[in-house]
C-alpha cells in the first residue's frame, strides 16, 4: 500500500449517511410524521451524500492501487444511476400525487423509476466486459456472487417471516437495494483480504 496516508472521509461513512437517511425517511413516513413532498426533500438531501461518496471512492481506489479506467466508468455510471433514480422517482410521485393520472400514463409513471435500475444492471455487466485487469474483474465477480447469495438469504428469510405474518410486506424493488448492500459487504471483505497478512 502507498506510504502516503489517505485523508478525508471514508466512503463507507457517506454510504452510512445515505443508507441511514433512507431508513430514517421510511421510518418517519411509516409513523406519518413526514408526508409528501417533505419525504422527497429529505430523500434528495440524503442522496446528495452520494456525490462525495463517489469522490471518496475514487481517491481510495487510487490510494489502494485498484483504480482502472473501467472502474472509473462504472463509478460514474453508478452515480448517474443513483441521481437519476431519485429524480425520476420524485417526478413520478409528484405527477401521481398532483394529477392522479390513470391508465397508460399511470403505467408509464410506475415504470419510470425502474429505468435507472435497469441502467445500473447494464452498467455492472458492462464493467465486467470493459475491465482489462483480470484480478480486479475477479474481485468484482466474487463480490457480485456474495451479493447474490446475500440477497437470496435475505429474500428467503424475509419471505417466510412475511408468510407467517411476522414481518410486513416488502416491495420487490428492495431487491436492488439489498443486492447493493451485499456488493458493498463483498467489496469490504475483498479489501480486507488484500490488506491482510
Amino acid at each position: 500500500m502507498s506510504a502516503k496516508r489517505l485523508v478525508g472521509v471514508h466512503p463507507a461513512i457517506w454510504g452510512a449517511v445515505f443508507g441511514g437517511g433512507m431508513v430514517l425517511t421510511a421510518w418517519l413516513e411509516k409513523y406519518h410524521w413526514l408526508a409528501w413532498p417533505w419525504n422527497l426533500a429529505l430523500v434528495a438531501l440524503f442522496s446528495a451524500s452520494l456525490i462525495p461518496m463517489s469522490v471518496a471512492m475514487r481517491q481510495r481506489s487510487i490510494h489502494c492501487g485498484v483504480d482502472s479506467a473501467a472502474m472509473r466508468r462504472y463509478n460514474r455510471r453508478a452515480l448517474i444511476w443513483a441521481l437519476s433514480y431519485i429524480v425520476l422517482l420524485g417526478f413520478a410521485l409528484t405527477v401521481r400525487n398532483t394529477w392522479q393520472p390513470q391508465g397508460p400514463v399511470l403505467w408509464l409513471l410506475a415504470l419510470l423509476p425502474s429505468l435507472p435500475i435497469i441502467y445500473y444492471v447494464w452498467a455492472m455487466g458492462q464493467y465486467l466486459r470493459d475491465e482489462q485487469d483480470e484480478y480486479l474483474r475477479m474481485r468484482q465477480m466474487q463480490a457480485g456472487m456474495f451479493a447474490t447469495g446475500f440477497l437470496l438469504v435475505v429474500a428467503t428469510v424475509w419471505g417466510f417471516l412475511e408468510t407467517f405474518g411476522i414481518a410486513p410486506h416488502a416491495e420487490g424493488w428492495w431487491a436492488v437495494a439489498v443486492w447493493a448492500i451485499g456488493l458493498g459487504m463483498g467489496s469490504f471483505v475483498q479489501a480486507k483480504r488484500d490488506h491482510g497478512p
Binding site: 492501487g65 483504480d67 482489462q132 485487469d133 483480470e134 484480478y135 480486479l136 475477479m138 488484500d194
Partner: protein, 63 residues
C-alpha cells in the same frame, strides 16, 4: 503456486507500481500475485515472463 516476482522486481529496483504500469495492470494485482493470493491467468503469466525475458517456469514454480 510460488513465484519469484518480488525478487525479480527488486533486482531491477522496480516498485510494485512500476511493474504494474509495465504490465498494464493495477498495483493491487501485482501485490496479490507476489503474495500468492492470486495466480495469474496463462496470458498474464506469459506477459510477466516476457517482461523479465524468462520462461514461465523461471518465474512461477509449483508449491
Amino acid at each position: 503456486m510460488n513465484n519469484r516476482l518480488k525478487v525479480l522486481r527488486a533486482e531491477r529496483s522496480w516498485s510494485q507500481q512500476d511493474l504494474a504500469e509495465r504490465l498494464g495492470v493495477s498495483r493491487q494485482s501485482v501485490n496479490a500475485i507476489e503474495t500468492g493470493k492470486y495466480d495469474p491467468s496463462l496470458p498474464l503469466a506469459f506477459r510477466i515472463a516476457d517482461l523479465f525475458k524468462m520462461t514461465i517456469e523461471d518465474v512461477f514454480q509449483r508449491d
